[in-house]
Symmetry: C2
Subunit: 195 residues, 2 copies
DNA sequence: TTTATTTTTGAATAGTGATTCATTAATAAT
DNA sequence: ATTATTAATGAATCACTATTCAAAAATAAA
């Protein structure tokens, strides 16, 4: 018998995030991912079925991690709904601040997976969005939030806005600091543009 | 001598919008675009340098058209800044309502071009965004809009939100009607989620 | 008509890179 | 030690499709 050495699957995933981030998914070569991971090209196929499934795994882990963290915040009873929304926005920004390559992959390739209609991905993503929705619902019930807002619209609007901002930040982090973005997103979410 | 028959360039562009919309840019075959346009594969290369330049042309025309229309609204002096923002949002939604395939190409492939850093594209897009910015600036000067909003952040946020919503609309137009989206985007822009 | 010029064609080319698989290497069990 | 089993390798395969280009077709001019 022989046992697997090290964590090649983890190495490959981390390498893939880097390579996808710098070249985009379509231009990324499996041979390059293998090289960065320090394994042979063929080894990638020992751990993953194909190129697409590597991308899928990256997103699964991302949304999975976020979901767990957000769930805790969403259920913290001693915060008001507005404070919880704030904290949830913070969490999303924190994840991407920690790992800029992951941010780039997220903003550029999320479409790709949404189109492929992969259920594993969709489930995670929807569960993630539902958490935010629950908080908003509570805010409406308490009379804090405007009841004329459609929840489905709001959640996709917020996430789309954040995604686009992250994309511009990733292209030029100094010109476009993440903290300014974060503050403004919170303001816009709460008050819109009106005084 | 021989003169060109019909408007093959226009036919090819329209075919490309359809094919890009249904398969995505990367999976779209030139031979399929030619087939839909009713020309030979080789003819595509008589009118366009390569695949990428077809996509570029589509976006150039889209932003070019939008720019002209938005400029008129942005400079209409008898509308308040808020009314102008409203009208501008309407214009964007109108373009995509008229041509759903174009909406799909827009939401899925805009990233692609932004990354390629093509100046022809960037110029149009930035000019387009600047128009909205001018209106917001006026609103701030008049004391209508909150001065703590960063304009750069706001414009990317708004466009990103709209883009994401259009994407979901394009995937399921009945479940997610465009008019509801339009109304909610206006509300969220003005007031945020708070009452 | 005939010739010259330009358009159109689509089969052939050519580059690419994802994926496979026969082989080698390493470890566990006997 | 020896054998069995699984991991790891990377060169070769194979499919795919953007692009090219020599030939054919169409029209204008002579």
């Amino acid at each position: 018998m022989r046992t697997k050495e090290g964590n090649k699957d983890k190495d490959i995933l981390e390498a893939a995030v880097k390579v996808f981030a710098s070249n985009g998914y379509h231009k990324a070569k499996i041979s390059k991912i293998a090289e960065v991971a320090g394994v042979a090209t063929g080894s990638v196929y020992v751990y993953f079925d194909n190129k697409e499934s590597i991308l899928l795994k990256i997103f699964e882990q991302l949304w999975g991690k976020l979901f767990i963290e957000l769930k805790i915040v969403a259920e913290t009873q001693n915060l008001s709904p507005l404070e919880r929304i704030d904290a949830m926005i913070d969490l999303v920004f924190d994840v991407f601040t920690e790992n800029p390559s992951l941010a780039i992959v997220f903003v550029n390739e999320q479409n790709h997976l949404q189109q492929s209609n992969n259920s594993a991905f969709t489930n995670y993503y929807e569960k993630f969005l539902d958490l935010g929705e629950d908080v908003i619902k509570e805010g409406m019930k308490n009379g804090l939030f405007s009841p004329s807002i459609d929840l489905n619209v709001f959640r996709y609007y917020l996430l789309g806005g954040i995604r686009n901002l992250l994309q511009h930040w990733a292209q030029d982090p100094k010109e476009f600091p993440l903290n300014k973005i974060r503050q403004n997103v919170k303001l816009l979410t709460k008050h819109g543009i009106q005084k």
